[in-house]
């Protein structure tokens, strides 16, 4: 067996592979190859919080939320216009009142209401009563009701 070709091949493979492996930051790796709206949504929204499922708010809520990202719950989450548009489209297309949604999520939500927090949705409040008691949500146990991953197995990216 001649060693040289294998050595050369493996060495080249390592030199090429290592930077590729290192460059693939987790967030970017998780969105590679996805349709742009979904990829943008996962990459940008999950930079700060768990990826809230689009089907937990109606389309009008997502439109309202993404119309003022520079004042996003006390944060400046501003994005360039094309990325904002792609994310808005994905969220609206998969909203609670889209064909991907469920009547249960829209339960008791008045058509005149446009909640900007999932925690303001009547369905959420009815099944998370324990989290609505005074004092809960600020203690060491549950930091914030926005942190679904504290109790649920949800995607973080």
């Amino acid at each position: 067996m001649r060693l040289a070709p294998y050595l050369v091949g493996l060495t080249l493979a390592g030199l090429v592979l290592a930077p590729l492996l290192l460059a693939a930051a987790p967030a970017e790796a998780a969105t590679r190859g996805l349709p742009s709206g979904l990829a943008d949504t996962r990459r940008e929204c999950s930079a700060c919080h768990v990826l809230y499922p689009p089907e937990l708010l109606p389309a009008r809520s997502w439109q309202a939320l993404t119309s003022h990202l520079s004042t996003h719950f006390g944060e400046d989450a501003s994005l360039d216009a094309p990325t904002t548009a792609a994310i808005t489209k994905y969220l609206v297309d998969h909203a609670a009142d889209s064909r991907y949604g469920s009547r249960d999520v829209m339960w008791h939500l008045s058509p005149t209401q446009t909640p900007q927090r999932i925690t303001d949705m009547p369905f959420w409040r009815s099944i998370h009563r324990r989290l609505l008691q005074p004092g809960v949500g600020t203690g060491p146990g549950i930091r914030t009701a926005a942190d679904c991953a504290r109790c649920h197995d949800v995607r973080s990216e």
Binding site: L7, G14, L15, A18, L22, H49, F73
Partner: protein
């Protein structure tokens, strides 16, 4: 003669070499961003004398009181040591800002500009100067 150990060793060595190359790549990408801020800073101030890690540290630890109440300081989310993992107010873990801990930090200009824009706005209530951005990166490179 069993060739397997030699081949494995060669592969491991080249992976290490590749990793070093990648790190060098990060360093040169970061240097390009710092150089850009240096050029901007020089344009704004002819007496510009380079960036300071100490000034960057003070900037990072400061509580300027001019931003939003939810985020009085960089340390609100990033903790007082850039080598620590941080946490957003919504509970998501943040990778350390220190370059020694997260080598890919400050290597993508679009991303760097986006986050300076957002976080300078929320913590300082204004945009940051090129001098401040350069100081900040220089501090994080020293950490």
């Amino acid at each position: 003669m069993n060739l397997r150990p030699i081949l494995l060793l060669a592969f491991a060595a080249s992976l290490t070499g590749g990793a070093t190359l990648a790190a060098t790549n990060y360093a040169s990408e970061r240097a390009a961003i710092v150089a850009r801020y240096a050029a901007e800073a020089k344009q704004a101030n002819p007496n510009f004398h380079g960036f300071s890690a100490d000034a960057g540290k003070a900037f990072f630890l400061a509580h300027p009181g001019t931003g939003r109440p939810e985020t009085p300081s960089c340390t609100t989310c990033h903790t007082t040591s850039p080598r620590n993992y941080g946490r957003t107010r919504a509970g998501k873990q943040l990778l350390p800002v220190a370059v020694s801990r997260t080598p890919a930090r400050f290597t993508n200009l679009t991303k760097v500009e986006r986050w300076f824009k957002r976080n300078c706005n929320t913590v300082y209530g204004r945009t940051c100067t090129a001098q401040e951005k350069g100081n900040y990166i220089t501090f994080m490179e020293s950490q």
